[in-house]
Symmetry: C2
Subunit: 492 residues, 2 copies
């Protein structure tokens, strides 16, 4: 039984009282009003915000208190369906739902056999295949790794094609230029039968794409152009401040949360001014840093706290929330990688994050995606999906009859209640070794990473691309070939 996405039965964990959340919202308004946000080299944003009642000072826009919030709350949907090529894989982003997507943006890959190296388009396809095959990932992601063997101005074509060809799960479009967003939209249109519009004439949302702020308090023209293309086409924008606390923001949780809210509200309001009602996701990526070296650190308690706080702010705003993942600074899939990933993933799930990028594969502060790490993370995602179902309080779940049919000291192994429930009683990890020491030793004394190494190879051996209409596939290939022929190669 594979769910296309998770629907949580548990309430989100709250770490702050309402009055403190209100205070942080007030601080965000102070930032928006008194400091403002730079929308750099993008006159269209200034025009739209001027019409809405904000004032520009060069690149800077300062916002009357409450303006961004009211624009968002007036128009942005609290949740939306992202359609997949296979309708059974459609996901609902927002509300009580959680969607897990793979790692994003790594120039390097790691596997135990070949070590760390630059990523290629074949690695890219492999991770799309692994995500496609996993019952625990609901989304194909975007730039799962950077295929550095492809010219930088043409990668997006091969990446979008790989998502459409090797998977039928929902995916993300390119954001590295307005034209690449336009190409992504065009390819999606081809893949979805030539027209994204539904019977009511509104474009279906078929991509959710990552729009990163240049924190602190800056949106740049590249990201704004991509966001404008996507929003205009009713495609979702994940508006994500990217904060290394201490560098791109103050060090403290409440300050990072206020800045994140200010930046995200400005970006989401921009999308709503481009097209009222276009889906937006409130994104937050926040990490701590090493005092000694300035390197980003992961799995520390402070960013987990930020995550809980910003999730609550997103709920109050009424929009879907993206944050978290399986983050680590480790270079290899060792205990550090697992501890740090769990220290982000559990808050991610408990806080009720709706869209989880980097849910599987992340290594080395995002510089690398690991094959073994991907498999280990995906197994954890399966556990989270089980956890959030909560407690079964049905008569069978309470099991009172089982007790009444039982004597003290008598084991429950062979009883009716156990036999009736055993098959689905406990999450079964594909990678954990629960055997005796002797059995484990005789089986080769493998580490979890060793088992994951065998597992990803098996998945790739077994992979078959989901079916696609031959004519659609030909049209996609033609589009990719034509667009590539129109541009000279650019070196990234």
């Amino acid at each position: 039984m594979t769910e296309p996405f998770i629907t949580r039965q548990l309430p989100p964990v709250e770490v702050l009282a309402e009055e403190h959340l209100v205070q942080i919202e007030d601080n965000a308004d102070t930032i928006l009003e008194r400091v403002g946000i730079d929308f750099r080299n993008y006159p269209r944003a200034h025009e739209l915000f001027a019409d809405a009642g904000a004032r520009s000072y060069g690149d800077r826009i300062r916002f009357p208190r409450g303006l961004c919030r009211s624009i968002i709350q007036q128009h942005a949907p609290s949740e939306y369906v992202q359609h997949a090529r296979n309708p059974e894989r459609n996901v609902t982003i927002g509300g009580r739902h959680t969607v897990f997507a793979p790692n994003y943006g790594s120039p390097f890959v790691y596997d135990q056999d070949r070590g760390r190296r630059y990523a290629t388009i074949e690695d890219f396809r492999n991770f799309v295949r692994l995500a496609s095959a996993s019952p625990h990932l609901h989304h194909s992601g975007g730039t799962v790794c950077e295929p550095v063997d492809i010219p930088v101005n043409k990668r997006h074509l091969d990446m979008v094609y790989a998502h459409l060809r090797e998977s039928d799960k929902p995916f993300m479009g390119s954001v590295t230029a307005g034209s690449r967003a336009a190409d992504s939209i065009e390819m999606a249109r081809i893949a979805f039968g030539g027209d994204l519009r539904d019977e009511s004439g509104v474009e279906r949302t078929v991509m959710s794409s990552l729009i990163n702020a240049s924190s602190p308090l800056v949106w740049d023209d590249t990201m704004l152009a991509a966001a404008e293309h996507y929003a205009a086409a009713n495609q979702a924008c994940i508006i994500s401040p990217f904060i290394l606390a201490g560098a791109m923001a103050p060090t403290t949780c409440a300050a990072v949360a206020a800045q994140t809210l200010a930046e995200a509200m400005a970006g989401m309001a921009f999308c709503q001014l481009v097209r009222p009602g276009a889906p937006v996701v409130f994104g937050s990526f926040a990490s701590s840093m090493s005092m000694a070296t300035g390197a980003p650190t992961f799995g520390t308690p402070e960013p987990a706290m930020v995550l809980y706080v910003v999730a609550a702010l997103a709920r109050r705003l009424g929009v879907p929330f993206r944050s978290g993942g399986s983050l680590t600074a480790s270079k290899v899939p060792d205990a550090q990688a697992a501890y740090e990933s769990a220290a982000t993933l559990q808050p991610t799930v408990l806080a009720g994050v709706n869209f989880v990028l980097h849910a599987a594969g992340w290594l080395e502060g995002g510089l690398a995606i690991g094959y073994e790490k991907f498999m280990l993370d995906a197994d954890q995602l399966g556990m989270m999906a089980t956890f959030v179902r909560g407690v079964d309080m049905s008569p069978n779940g309470q099991g009172v009859d089982a007790f009444l049919a039982h004597q003290p000291g008598q084991h429950f192994l062979g009883t009716g209640h156990t036999l009736a429930n055993f098959e689905s009683a406990f999450y079964r990890s594909a990678l954990a070794d629960n055997s005796s020491f002797e059995q484990w030793r005789d089986d080769g004394a493998q580490s979890a990473a060793d088992r994951a190494n065998a597992a990803w190879k098996q998945v790739l051996r077994d992979h078959e691309p989901p079916p696609i209409d031959d004519a659609v596939d030909a049209e996609l290939r033609d589009f990719v070939a034509r667009r590539k022929s129109e541009m000279p190669d650019e070196i990234g």
Copy 2:
């Protein structure tokens, strides 16, 4: 700055509505009333419960609904101070406090150099030293490992002596026979100056000891004898059902919770009947199992859910709660070990557990304690302590002035607010590697376990036992020698 224990600023995470908790309490009363609990070969328990209004049927005692609860709520303290030999290390167990104690009960040890082998008294002393040195462990624990090189009937003497000599943190007494509990109490009396009584004439609580049920629904005479000795001396008993769901209980969460509550209430009520007001801790150890082999499994979502539910039941009952730890089935300190440990430890902390046994070192389903695992776990405990402090909402924490002094796009690295907060801004892991890939590679490409290996050796090299009065030490040694001479060796 080392805290002797943690005081949580965060509210506990609740996974069930009150009506469902009430239902589980009702089910526990049904078990106590209609099935009952065996108190085997221990007439004293039957006498005490008969006087309190329960009825015996052979070994079985059946309890009127609400009886155990009312005995506990009438007498048992909601929290208590466990005194340490060094008063600065006293811990408060209960309420908003959390105390981390090491692994308990493993016959084997593991380290990267020598692999897995039987534990010795020198291993025992080493783990007491490691716990003593760690700022993240608040308690010295009890049987941190089984020193199998010492005769089974004399181990407790060497173990208690090691806790008193190599550490000045609070510790646990022996429970494997009534006489060994009595020896533990006598040694504690010597160590605490010859008399445990405070100025009001009441014995100070200087041990919290682990009393395990023989689930399902059985208390045996060994554990009851130890509990009676401790309770009579005002020493704390951690009354712990030990449940492998599917074997010692039904498989479902609500059933495991009801059974745990029934068993624990019966045990705690027994202690209160022995001595009203003696400290008791509601314990719960619950794991899932492998369908394929019947082996216990750890880090799965189902036991985490049980933990949250039983923690809420303990709060409603009004007694301190023990559960969780850093549990894993892995044989080595790899990614499985870390993922599984985190999947128990985070619920442990978020659920507000008061006393956490097995917080560091556990491997192989408890059969082994690992040196590297101990260090890695302890580092995670430090992160938890930081996390539960919650969000600093002071003006400095909110950092509004920092924003007002700042321009968009300008980094915060050198600003006043960052400089004022940087030193304590983020948890600094002693074992995580956050350096670049190249730096890490040039440093030897060490795994987290490799770094932990170096770390525990360094701690042991640096260890100096805390000071102890020479006369007290001599008296303790004399006691151990005398008791050993009074018994022939027994082979375990």
